[in-house]
């Protein structure tokens, strides 16, 4: 016990609270298992976060872990402040040119993804490095300050700096930072976020980081003020680890997937607890669904895509599809039905919200008897069946379908787009999705999982307890984490390769520096960040991986550092790409270091055993077609009880649907493991 207390610097019995901000509700979970849901406060989300913490009894030394969408929403709604970009002279518009591609191939008037940048806010400064990091032209700090002042005069509220080859040698960018700091606006230089090559992606990360700072920084300060004094605030990153709030305010670009990351971390943890092997997680909410593949750990990617923009920042491999409860059903010009990606949002919302909204996936569920509104926080009368039926009849008539076939069709098509995303996720990993267990969460994931399992050929799925607050549970489990990466661009010989020994490339012109030195540097930096955030040295675990490719390829694969990197690479390449060529030279492109400090395990809920008592339905749902489904209250279920489909499983956070033949058994922690019935 004493040892434990020493390991964790803060007092042992500290209360830990996780808060996840959603579109409608803000969910909070305490590490003793209590869950609260309060209405979100979109104007200032920190109000709801603080209210939820207060309800759970947050006090002075409480640790609050937060998943926020403040920055993400500002980007998605184009509410970021105008931001300036400083590049090498001659490269002023580097970030506006981007990769020259248009996001939509068949658009009459193509538009590049929106950025908080215009041509007026682009500037160039003399100074140039070559690809080895050597100076060709000296950096002009005075010109840089003049350029920065000009940008601020033209309305820039933050400035990003990206200079060519700064990943190799950050000296010029550091000089720029020093020159610009006196201007008093947030400044982000690209090499401070990551030392990786590809100027546009690195530059976009710097640009968004600079633009997000005036948004996320004040939000975090406001939240800190609303929490009890001395409460320790940590923020979830896209990469599934938490960081100190001060770091988050400085590097908000790391938070772009802060919201969805929590759920994926929870899914990976639950998969380990129940020894499920490979898991496909499905987080379905009102407007979209997030899917991820995890097997032991969740795969990381060095780049994420949001609002059409590729941002170079470490992230969990999460794929988003435009299929949610609010997805709109409509007909195309040729008379085929389509569902999504447009969403009814919260205004007007689905037809059943009674605001003349369109027919959506949620309406279809309501009319098919797949919802039990008495479990909803807003109560049994919160949904307008008549309005939903009216919308369905109109749509069915145009589609020349019966209303029943039309409502079922809407669900089928929503499932089809999710099934496709789940398949892609497996395909990305070079794995067969049939080998995975599905793990649905979010308000609506459980409603679709049985049908998805059937169409993917998956044999079983796990319905977690309190699935509507699952993302918040993940926040409690996420380790304190810091990542560092660096491009090396050297070559390993295909056989007998060893880290630390690199081979000259291009007939001796170019010798990559030995990775050992870099690994040490990156490791020390990452560890220092964790220690600053309150971890102790002994808690910290470090993992190192390398980005490798065949010489001539332009895409890297991450392989954990090992004695024979090349061999490990051939193996992974075979799995992912379908072939390997051991005679080819393998190139070491970069190295990544991930330092993590585990957090105390939250108290797990243990259900009392059923002792022979059978699960009892508490009622039946209403439906527009025939008889409804038996409803089971998940809070009344006991360990070991069996629930067989067709059935609806409800608690106050989420609903799950079992089809005929599905057989579920309640586990000790309240999760239900379901074996799918019916033919493959």
């Amino acid at each position: 016990m004493l040892l434990l207390a020493l390991r964790y610097r803060r007092p042992l019995k500290v209360l830990r609270i996780a808060v996840d901000t959603g579109g409608t509700f803000t969910d909070a979970v305490a590490d003793d298992g209590r869950v609260v849901k309060v209405p979100s406060t979109p104007a200032d989300p920190s109000q709801a976060v603080a209210a939820a913490c207060a309800q759970l009894g947050a006090e002075a030394n409480t640790e609050v872990i937060h998943g926020t969408t403040v920055g993400t929403n500002a980007l998605l709604t184009r509410a970021l402040p105008p931001t300036g970009a400083i590049c090498n002279s001659g490269f002023e518009h580097l970030l506006l040119i981007g990769r020259q591609s248009r996001p939509e191939l068949y658009a009459l008037a193509p538009r590049k993804p929106w950025l908080p940048l215009t041509a007026r806010l682009c500037a160039g400064v003399p100074g140039r490095l070559d690809h080895m990091g050597y100076e060709i032209e000296a950096f002009d700090a005075a010109a840089c300050r003049r350029a920065g002042r000009g940008l601020v005069e033209r309305g820039a509220q933050a400035i990003a700096v990206v200079l060519l080859h700064s990943w190799h040698n950050p000296a010029h960018e550091q000089a720029a930072l020093q020159a610009l700091l006196p201007l008093g606006v947030p400044v982000t230089v690209s090499s401070a976020l990551q030392r990786e090559f590809r100027e546009v992606e690195r530059g976009i990360a710097a640009l968004l980081n600079a633009a997000l700072r005036p948004v996320v920084g004040p939000y975090i300060s406001a939240l800190q003020r609303r929490l009890p004094q001395d409460a320790l605030l940590r923020i979830m990153t896209s990469a599934g680890g938490t960081i100190a709030s001060a770091v988050a305010a400085e590097q908000p670009v790391r938070l772009l997937l802060s919201g969805p990351a929590g759920g994926v971390v929870a899914a990976a943890a639950l998969a380990r607890t129940h020894r499920l092997g490979a898991v496909l997680s499905l987080d379905m909410g009102g407007t979209s669904a997030d899917v991820a593949w995890c097997e032991g750990a969740v795969p990381h990617v060095p780049e994420l895509r949001i609002a059409g923009v590729s941002v170079r920042t470490p992230s969990l491999a999460i794929h988003t599809v435009g299929a949610g409860g609010g997805s709109i059903a409509a007909l195309d010009a040729g008379g085929a039905l389509r569902v999504g990606p447009e969403s009814a949002g919260s205004d007007p919302g689905p037809a059943c919200h009674g605001n003349d909204g369109p027919f959506t996936v949620t309406d279809a569920h309501l009319l098919l008897g797949n919802l039990a509104p008495e479990f909803f926080p807003a109560g049994a009368d919160s949904l307008d069946r008549a309005a939903a039926e009216l919308a369905l009849r109109a749509l069915a008539k145009c589609a020349r379908l019966s209303p029943l076939a039309c409502a079922r069709g809407v669900i089928t098509l929503a499932n089809a787009s999710m099934a496709r995303a789940l398949r892609f996720m497996g395909e990305e990993q070079g794995r067969d999705p049939r080998q995975a267990t599905l793990l649905p969460f979010g308000g609506a994931g459980g409603l679709h999982v049985s049908a998805l399992a059937r169409s993917l050929g998956v044999r079983r799925f796990l319905l977690p307890a309190a699935a509507g607050a699952f993302s918040a549970q993940g926040l409690l489990l996420a380790p304190l984490a810091a990542t560092r990466s660096r491009t090396l661009l050297g070559a390993l010989v295909a056989r007998g390769a060893r880290p630390g020994r690199t081979i000259a490339r291009n007939s001796g012109q170019r010798l990559a520096p030995p990775p050992a030195k870099f690994v040490r540097e990156l490791r020390d930096e990452a560890i220092a960040e964790l220690l600053d955030a309150g971890a102790s040295r002994r808690q910290v675990q470090v993992s190192v991986s390398c980005d490798l490719r065949y010489e001539g390829q332009s895409f890297e694969i991450e392989v954990p550092l090992c004695a024979d990197l090349a061999r490990a690479f051939h193996k992974v390449h075979q799995q992912r790409a379908g072939f390997a060529d051991p005679t080819r030279r393998v190139e070491l492109v970069g190295v990544r270091v991930r330092a993590e400090a585990a957090v105390p395990t939250p108290t797990a809920l243990v259900l009392p055993p059923a002792r022979g008592r059978k699960a009892q339905a508490v009622g039946r749902t209403r439906t527009a077609f025939g008889t409804g489904l038996p409803v089971f209250d998940r809070d009344l279920l006991l360990r070991g009880q069996k629930v067989c489909g067709p059935a609806l499983l409800c608690d106050h956070t989420a609903t799950a649907l079992l089809a005929a033949g599905d057989e579920g058994v309640v586990l000790a922690d309240g999760a239900i493991l379901v074996q799918r019935g019916g033919a493959a």
């Binding site: 001659g90 490269f91 002023e92 580097l94 506006l96 040119i97 990769r99 020259q100 591609s101 248009r102 191939l105 068949y106 658009a107 009459l108 008037a109 193509p110 590049k112 041509a119 070559d130 690809h131 060519l164 080859h165 990943w167 090559f197 100027e199 546009v200 007909l331 195309d332 010009a333 040729g334 008379g335 085929a336 039905l337 389509r338 008539k397 589609a399 020349r400 379908l401 019966s402 076939a405 039309c406 079922r408 069709g409 089928t412 098509l413 089809a416 496709r420 892609f424 990305e428 661009l489 007939s507 001539g552 390829q553 332009s554 895409f555 790409a577 379908g578 072939f579 060529d581 080819r584």
Partner: protein, 537 residues
């Protein structure tokens, strides 16, 4: 239900469901190819396409990869099935075979686009029920100029011509054929890597089709394919009915006054639309000829722009369209015309031509013309150790403005959408240095909505190298629409180490220190410009 409409046994839900199932296959193949490919051309610039074809060679589904490959897949599959069909007896296409080709008159487009095709047989059928194909632009396939995109006079000067031949027989790689192909390219290592990646993607497609046939049943799947084709045809017809009646003609020069002229007449017919290219100038002794596949792709692309985003991309889109393409013309050249630039340059002009005609048929709907070129730049040389190097890139320019707003700047338009190569990657891999890369401010056409600006890219050679530019819109700019101004034409120049500047005409042997500057064209403006004095304060 009496009023339930079934289309070949498929209702409104089943139609979309099968569209999803079928279009997922080429998309997954694309993911596979991208993950496995070697060259930046495929991996980063995404210059490839994947398609699924049916029993008659018709296009069943195509992923949105690169438009210039759109709609030529059915011609490819048709050629292969004709060349290697059951009439060949024991030598006919069999399971496990994979066909390689690039011959523009045997299913190909231009020579660098190498296609791999595999038939898929359901159960014991003798005829392939489906075909999957992957077409990818390879950075070099021989010929006189590195990158195989130089100023050749005929096809034979452009590189190795590959008729439909089997690279795999019964699943076994034909090493001798591969060796023969690799011996004819400047970058055999990369070619081998890309070809094997292409083969892996094709194999994945075959497996996925077989799975789908097992799940759905061959007969049901064929019915769905037919129903989806009718669905696309019906939607296209509905679109064409919105056009004004009468004849709408347009004509356009490929570039300056000396260059060939393209002509088209659009006319609504009871069946849908007639597109008549009669009057287009004959083919030329320069690499700017297009074959039938390319011209059809352009037409398909323009239709796709106007059609609902969610509609399936299959042969049905072309069913209501009748195309008249005079043989021996620039847009339907006879063997052995040089065609390298047909794909990348003439194709862009065909889109402009169709835009001009459609602006009359559909006032207000279409934007102004865009840069109308791909600004193909190929640089190559030989290293001190004897290793040849070559890289190829295309540059974005200004997009045409529309009624809704100004044109986008420095963007790839119409028939291509390839990514640029990062400066940091380029400088690390090749002996060149990029010295300028910025917007060409003011190059977009004037108008109520301005055309998008082109860009300027300047490169310094750090070792001697051959530099080849294949580009049009160097003499006349992109026309505006609805009274909008013309965009600035592009400019290419060579700057000697001592600072002397000269226009760059197609190909030049550059010295160490030579700089090459490409300024790409702006897009056309939309609507008459309001003079500054007349604007409300």
């Amino acid at each position: 239900m009496k009023n339930v409409r079934k289309q070949g046994g498929l209702d409104a839900v089943e139609l979309r469901l099968h569209q999803n199932l079928l279009s997922a296959i080429p998309e997954e193949m694309g993911l596979r190819l991208r993950r496995a490919a070697f060259s930046p051309n495929i991996k980063e610039r995404l210059d490839f396409s994947c398609a699924l074809t049916g029993r008659d060679g018709a296009l069943v589904a195509q992923a949105s990869h690169i438009p210039v490959h759109l709609g030529s897949a059915h011609l490819t599959a048709g050629h292969i099935l004709a060349a290697l069909g059951p009439q060949r007896g024991v030598d006919a296409l069999a399971p496990g075979d994979m066909v390689l080709l690039n011959d523009p008159w045997a299913g190909g487009t231009h020579l660098p686009d190498i296609t791999l095709f595999a038939p898929v047989f359901c159960a014991r059928s003798k005829i392939a029920d489906f075909g999957v194909l992957v077409r990818a632009h390879h950075a070099d396939i021989g010929g006189a100029h590195p990158g195989s995109m130089g100023p050749a006079l005929d096809l034979y000067g452009e590189g190795l011509v590959i008729p439909p031949v089997r690279l795999f027989r019964h699943g076994v790689l034909q090493q001798e054929l591969l060796a023969m192909v690799l011996a004819n390219t400047r970058t055999p290592d990369e070619r081998q890597g890309d070809l094997l990646a292409q083969a892996a993607a094709v194999r994945h497609g075959v497996e996925r089709v077989q799975e789908l046939v097992r799940d759905q049943g061959a007969a049901r799947l064929q019915r769905a394919v037919q129903a989806l084709r009718r669905h696309a045809a019906r939607s296209t017809k509905a679109l064409l009915r919105q056009m004004r009646g009468g004849r709408h003609s347009a004509s356009l020069l490929l570039d300056g006054p000396e260059s060939p002229r393209l002509r088209v007449v659009l006319q609504r017919t009871p069946r849908g639309l007639r597109v008549d290219f009669t009057g287009t100038d004959p083919q030329v002794a320069a690499p700017l000829n297009a074959n039938r596949a390319i011209t059809i792709s352009c037409l398909f692309y323009v239709l796709r722009l106007l059609l609902d985003r969610d509609l399936p991309t299959n042969s049905g889109c072309l069913d209501p369209v009748e195309v008249i393409l005079p043989e021996g013309s620039l847009l339907n050249a006879r063997r052995p015309a040089a065609v390298a630039g047909g794909n990348v340059e003439t194709s862009q002009r065909v889109v402009d031509l169709l835009f001009l005609a459609l602006q009359k048929a559909w006032p207000g709907r279409l934007p102004a013309c865009s840069q109308g070129t791909m600004n193909n730049l190929t640089v190559g040389g030989v290293r001190a150790d004897g290793r040849a190097w070559t890289f190829y890139e295309t540059l974005g320019g200004g997009a045409g403005a529309s009624a809704d707003g100004p044109g986008e700047s420095a963007v790839q338009v119409h028939m291509t959408n390839t990514l640029n190569t990062p400066v940091e990657a380029l400088e690390a891999a090749f002996p060149v240095r990029i010295t300028r890369y910025h917007l060409r401010t003011g190059s977009g056409g004037a108008g109520e909505n301005r055309g998008g600006d082109g860009l300027v890219r300047e490169m310094e050679l750090l070792e001697p190298a051959q530099v080849t530019v294949l580009a049009t819109r160097r003499e006349s700019g992109a026309p505006g629409a609805n009274g909008g101004g013309t965009g600035k034409p592009g400019e290419d120049c060579v700057i000697d180490p001592d600072g002397r500047m000269a226009p760059l005409l197609s190909s030049v042997a550059g010295k160490r220190g030579t700089r090459v500057r490409i300024s790409t064209p702006g897009g056309g403006g939309y609507g008459a410009a309001v003079p500054r004095s007349a604007r409300k304060p």
